[in-house]
Every structure is written in C-alpha cells, then in structure tokens.
C-alpha cells in the first residue's frame, strides 16, 4: 500500500466520522476514523468539520479579457476556491470574444499564472458563432483542442434556428456539449424582469416566461431530431421544467441547470427597484420556485450553476432599467444552496449530485467521489459557522448580489486541490 502524504482526521462524511488518506495528489482511502499513526504524513485535525468533494460550476462569467474592472480570471478563481469550487467553466462573452484558440489559450495561461503552484481548474466555453453574432460558425474544433469544454452563445442566444441546428451538428463533431441560453430574442425585448404582477405594479418593461420556454421547446425538439445532447442553462420557470420532463421521458439527451437565486428569491424581491435583483432570466414566482425544487428532487434538473455575473458598483447603481443583468454568485453559492439542505428542501445526495457528479459527468471534468485514484479535491466545511456576505467577505470583484448584508450559514474552512492546501 502506498504511504499517505496527507491525512484528514475525524472529518464527517455522510454522517460518519472518517479519516481521508491522500497520496500523490490522489485519494488513497476513506475509512472509519482511528488513531493509526502515519509516519511522515501531514495530519490535519478536522473533528467537527464536514468533508465535502470540491464543487463544479459549469456557468460563470469571468470578464477577462476585456472587462477586467468587473472581474479578472485571478479574482474569479480566488472567489471560486474560497467558495468551494475546483472546476470552473467560463462563458465566451468577453472582449475579444472567446471564439478562437488564441483567446482560449490566453485564458488558460492567465488561470495558470493566478495559481502557479496549482489551483482551481478553468475550462473555457467557446462561442458557437463568431463574435457571438449568430451569423457564422466559430472554429469549434480548434477551440476544443485548445481546451474548451463546451460551446455556447450564452448572453446572445442564436436567433436563427437553422444556424443553431448547424452549430449543434458541428459542435457535436468535437465531442463537446452545446449549452443554450434559452431566450427567444423576439419574445424578449426587455430582460431582467419577469412579466407579471410585480412588473405591472412597478411599471417595468418585462419579459414573459414563455420567452424562455419557447426556446427550451425548440432546443428539445432539435436535440431529439438530431439525436444529440444539449445542455440548457439557468432554467428558471415551471413551463421549462415541464417541457424538459416531457423530453426526458421521450429519451431526448438533455441536461439542465438552475441557479441558487431562482430557488431562494421571487419577483417580489424587485420591490424597491434595487438593481442587484435584476438578472437574466429574471426572478420568477413562488410557483416557479416550487416547480424547480420538485424538478431537483425528481432529477428533471440535473445540476446547479451560479451564472456568476460580476459587475462594477457604478454600473449597478443607476436607474433600474439601465442596470446590467446579473448576480455575483461564486462567494455565496455554497452557503445559499446548503441552506436548502439545512431547511430540508433538497436532500444531501441531491446537493452532491447537483454540484459534483452531474456537472463533471456531463462535461467530462475531473471528479472526486472519494474513491481510490480520484483527484484529491475536497474541502472542510463548517455548516454552523455564520458569516456576513459583504464587500469585505467577498473575493469576487463583483459585489452585486441581492443577498448582500445577509448573514449566511456554512463556510469553507480549508480547501485542498490535488491534495494541496489552497485555502
């Protein structure tokens, strides 16, 4: 038996007190806790702390290149690793757009430079179309080779269904999934606000949930027709959930994500016009929240993602309708979704599936499931520790979150990646 280099002692995993043994950056063994001496191994006392596999976020905006004042790759990855994430997939809507291997290479170089000794892994997502313009296909083979894990026009969904079909076909040749931001641009002239009672009262231009569901329906029919996998980003409403459930029953190869804020907030949060509640797709109704929670339970929704969208303070502190959409999510996602477990709204097993197994299996990313040989990516977590989400406690440059000022519960105490302590 290989000799352990690192031993995590008396941490709690699935209700049992265990010791975790690491060798050469990989999991050696997880076994019931004992007082065995391990000559030469670093021992970390973890009594009372929970052991968790590192999380994967398949949907973030890191803003570099082009908008480094909002976030850069280094600050985004720092927020990620403090928030419990080991794998991060970043969207292509940068400037220049990540629509060629040169940009992909540069993103990966910046990620390595931010953590030269090893750190959270960055997996860029390439654009489906050049410049995200929805006119010509982007060179997806070249980007896949450079390290892109998927392709998406997130933020600027492809209007032209014929071109979207060709993008799915061409993308599938690379073996990497296509992710669609579901929003019919013709039905959605005003983003960020759900069309309904609250938008009427506040007098805000809004878009209906059918703008999302219409495009979900298109994508599902397309995936079935082409017999190809499609991943649907940030699902927010009951209509989309119903369509996905229908498609899964028919055997369509579809996976879907939702974000913490769609489970914890409703459109009621918009009263007061605070632009941190402006997000695309918009916050929906209590009925939609109920549908999403049920969809997590029955597996219709496969995974969580943050849709981390940092913005500078001066960009959000403007008239509501002028403010950009988005919530800065990496710092708080773990605590927010953990509160769903603590409140009995989702199970612990679903929590692990939604943040680790499903995203890693869907996008073929390194996965730690505490089996021998898995990458030793894990963190120690104190579920009881309270902390205030504010400018000082957030590592992201983007402080734009409707949860700002709130006391959250559950904190990462230390985070190990490939067996090395990063936090």
């Amino acid at each position: 038996m290989t000799h352990p280099e690192l031993v995590i002692r008396k941490a709690v995993w699935k209700g049992e007190e265990v010791d975790l043994l690491v060798a050469e950056g990989k999991i050696l063994e997880v076994k019931p806790s004992s007082d065995t001496m391990y000559e030469g191994a670093e021992i970390v006392a973890a009594k009372g702390l929970m052991l968790m596999p590192s999380l994967t976020d398949v949907h973030v905006h890191l803003r570099e290149p082009g908008f480094e004042y909002k976030e850069d790759i280094a600050s985004g990855l720092k927020a990620a690793v403090h928030g419990g994430f080991s794998n991060i997939m970043c969207m292509a809507n940068t400037d220049p757009v990540n629509d060629n291997a040169v940009v992909t290479d540069e993103m990966l170089r910046k990620a390595r430079a931010a953590f030269p000794e090893g750190g959270p892994r960055l997996f860029p997502i390439g654009a489906l179309t050049k410049g995200l313009k929805g006119e010509e296909l982007a060179p997806m083979h070249e980007m896949a080779e450079a390290g892109c894990a998927a392709f998406s026009n997130d933020g600027l969904p492809v209007k032209n269904s014929e071109l979207f079909r060709r993008a799915m076909e061409y993308g599938s040749d690379t073996g990497k999934p296509v992710i669609d931001h579901c929003e019919d641009p013709y039905l959605a002239p005003a983003a960020g606000v759900n069309e309904g009672e609250v938008s009427s009262v506040l007098g805000l231009a809004a878009q209906p949930d059918v703008a999302e569901a219409t495009q979900v329906a298109r994508d599902l029919l397309m995936a079935e027709y082409l017999d190809m996998h499609i991943h649907l980003a940030h699902i927010s409403c009951r209509k989309s959930v119903d369509l996905i459930a229908w498609a899964k029953k028919r055997g369509v190869k579809v996976t879907a994500e939702t974000c913490p804020h769609y489970l914890l907030l409703t459109e009621e949060a918009l009263h007061g016009y605070h632009s941190d509640t402006k997000v695309n797709p918009p916050l929906r109704t209590a009925d939609d929240v109920e549908a999403l929670l049920a969809a997590i339970k029955d597996g219709t929704i496969d995974m969580f993602a943050t849709d981390h969208a940092p913005h500078a303070a001066h960009e959000k502190e403007v008239e509501f309708m002028q403010a950009p959409c988005g919530i800065s999510g990496l710092d708080s996602a773990l605590s927010l979704t953990w509160s769903l477990v603590a409140d009995g709204k989702i199970s612990f097993d679903d929590f692990i599936r939604m943040w680790t197994t499903a995203p890693c299996e869907t996008f073929d990313l390194p996965l730690n499931s505490f089996k021998k040989g898995d990458p030793a990516d894990f963190f120690l977590f104190d579920p009881a520790q309270e902390w205030v989400l504010d400018s000082a406690s957030m590592h992201s440059k983007g402080k734009n979150t409707p949860f700002r000022g709130q006391t959250l519960k559950g904190r990462v105490i230390s985070h190990f990646l490939s067996g090395k302590k990063i936090v």
Partner: protein
C-alpha cells in the same frame, strides 16, 4: 394633521385621510389662486429644484407656478441643460443636487423607480412628478381633487380610464387613488395596451368601449403615444380612433352628467373627439387649474413637515 412623509413617491403611500387632507389644503390654495394678488409668503426662504430628465412643459410650469405663488424659490434643471448631458449617472446628478442643499426636489424621469432612487440617497423631500411607467402621484391627486370639487365625494362613483393603460403611470396612480377614495375603476383599451396580469388589478377590464362607458360618472382619456403603431401594438390610428377613441356615441351611454378628463397634451381626433374636449362636460381646463392648487398643497405639506 401633522405631515409625516419625507417623500411623495406614489399615492399608495398615503392613507385615505391624508388624501382628503391634500384635497382640503388644495381647496384653500384654490381660493388664493382666484384672488387678484395670488402670491403668499408661506414658503419664503425655501428652495425647490425642478429636475426634469424627461420633457414636460405643462407639469413643470404647474410646479413652477405653484412654488412661486408660495414665495418659494424654484430652480430648473432640464434635460437640455449641460449638467444633464449624456454620460452623467443619476447618482452623480443626485449628489450634485444634494450639494445645493434644496428643501425639495421635484423629479420627472423616464426610468421607473428614479424617484425612489433619489429618495433613498438624499435627505431633502423628493416629489415624484412621473417616473417611467410606474407612478404619477401628483397627477392622480389633481385628478382626484378635480372630481372632489365637482362631486364633494368620490365614494360610489364609477370612473372609466380609457386608452394605453399598459404604458401609463397616470392610469396606475389614478387606479390606486380612486379605489382608495371609494370609487370603482374601469379600464378599457385594446388587449395590446392592457398590462399583463390585469385581472389581478382592482379594476373591471373592457375591450369594448361602448360596454365600458355604460353608466359611468366620469371618463379619463389617456394620451396615446403615436409610436405604439411602430411598436407593433396597433395597426393604425384610424382603426384606433374608430374603436377606442372617445366620441359622442359612447358619451350617450354614460350617466347624463358624465365628466370628461384628459391629462394632456391631447391628440385631438385620436383618443378624443375634438368637440368633446371642449364641451360642457369637459374638465380638461379645470384639471390644469386644480393642478396648480394641488401642487401648492403638496409643496406646502412636504416642505413644512415636522422633521
């Protein structure tokens, strides 16, 4: 009555008794406005900034006159003036205004929520003179006051609001105010100009103008933005005026002494027949006069409130 509000963002903030108090205060100022010398020293030494980020000659003039009749100094900051050129944020404008240390700011802005944005950041009173599609409380109060002067009480009356409800802050604020004062409200317009979820609003909804007019005590026409046709919400103005413009035929279905109102400026021949706008039943010019008195009442109540 002791005035407890710092800002007037929407009529929903006011209780029925407070609205009644505004009406009574306005009645007093209406009397002053009929005197040969219309100026009183009530707000001498006070200053108010009229911050109009969206053009509106009539509302601005009305506030300006209201202020001046109370001997209050009024300063205008209009869209075209250099400090409001493109690029300066509302936050910076707010800080600039704050530095001038006025007692009140009257704001008209194209963005819903703009008045609240200022109210949360500044110490002086903010009076919303219309924000986006959200609210127009002073218009609702002056409309209510106009009817109060006619009828003495709004209780039990039925009032039809006609036209582009979806994009109208006047409709939203009037609905709240009229309901609060015991009146029933009807909305009428083509489906494309009615807000989503309108069934949840406290109003009866019609898409047939003749049905909507039956037995009503007053009809408030809204101004139609002529570009709604380009937005794909209407086929053309001819069709609109034929089906949703107020004409003699519909008036005959209403109560015999029906009142006709319009917040102005009117598109004659589009939302209202030109003769009706000038007829005996029309309160359009009364609304203008009530506007000055109501705004005098509001400036007085907000600027002299106990701090």
């Amino acid at each position: 009555m002791e005035w407890r509000h710092k800002d007037l963002l929407d009529v929903s903030q006011l209780s029925k008794e407070e609205v009644q108090h505004v009406f009574e205060t306005a009645t007093y100022f209406q009397e002053i406005n009929s005197r040969p010398v219309k100026k009183v020293p009530t707000l001498k030494g006070h200053s108010v900034v009229l911050f109009f980020a969206e053009a509106s000659t009539r509302t601005k003039t009305s506030f300006d006159m209201a202020g001046k009749r109370l001997s209050c100094d009024t300063f205008s900051l209009a869209k075209s003036s250099s400090s409001l050129t493109k690029g300066e944020t509302l936050k910076d404008t707010a800080l600039t205004l704050e530095a001038m240390n006025p007692d009140g700011i009257v704001i008209r802005h194209w963005a819903s929520g703009a008045a609240q944005f200022l109210a949360e950041r500044l110490d002086c009173s903010i009076i919303n003179a219309g924000d986006g599609r959200h609210a127009h409380p002073t218009q609702a109060l002056l409309d209510g006051f106009t009817l109060y002067q006619e009828w003495g009480s709004l209780a039990g009356k039925t009032i039809l609001i006609l036209g582009d409800i979806a994009h109208s802050r006047v409709a939203r604020s009037n609905l709240i105010l009229l309901n609060k004062m015991g009146a029933k409200v009807r909305f009428c317009g083509p489906r494309t100009l009615l807000p989503p979820q309108i069934k949840k609003w406290d109003a009866e909804v019609y898409t047939d103008l003749s049905e909507a007019c039956k037995g009503v005590d007053a009809i408030m026409c809204l101004r139609l933005q002529l570009e709604r046709q380009q937005d794909g919400l209407l086929p053309d103005l001819r069709e609109y005026s034929n089906y949703f413009g107020l004409g003699h035929k519909q008036i005959e279905l209403a109560k015999p002494d029906v009142k006709i109102m319009h917040p102005g400026p009117m598109n004659r021949g589009v939302e209202i027949n030109s003769e009706l706008a000038d007829c005996e039943a029309s309160l359009v010019l009364d609304q203008v006069a009530s506007g000055v008195a109501t705004r005098m009442a509001l400036l007085y109540l907000y600027l002299t409130r106990k701090k």
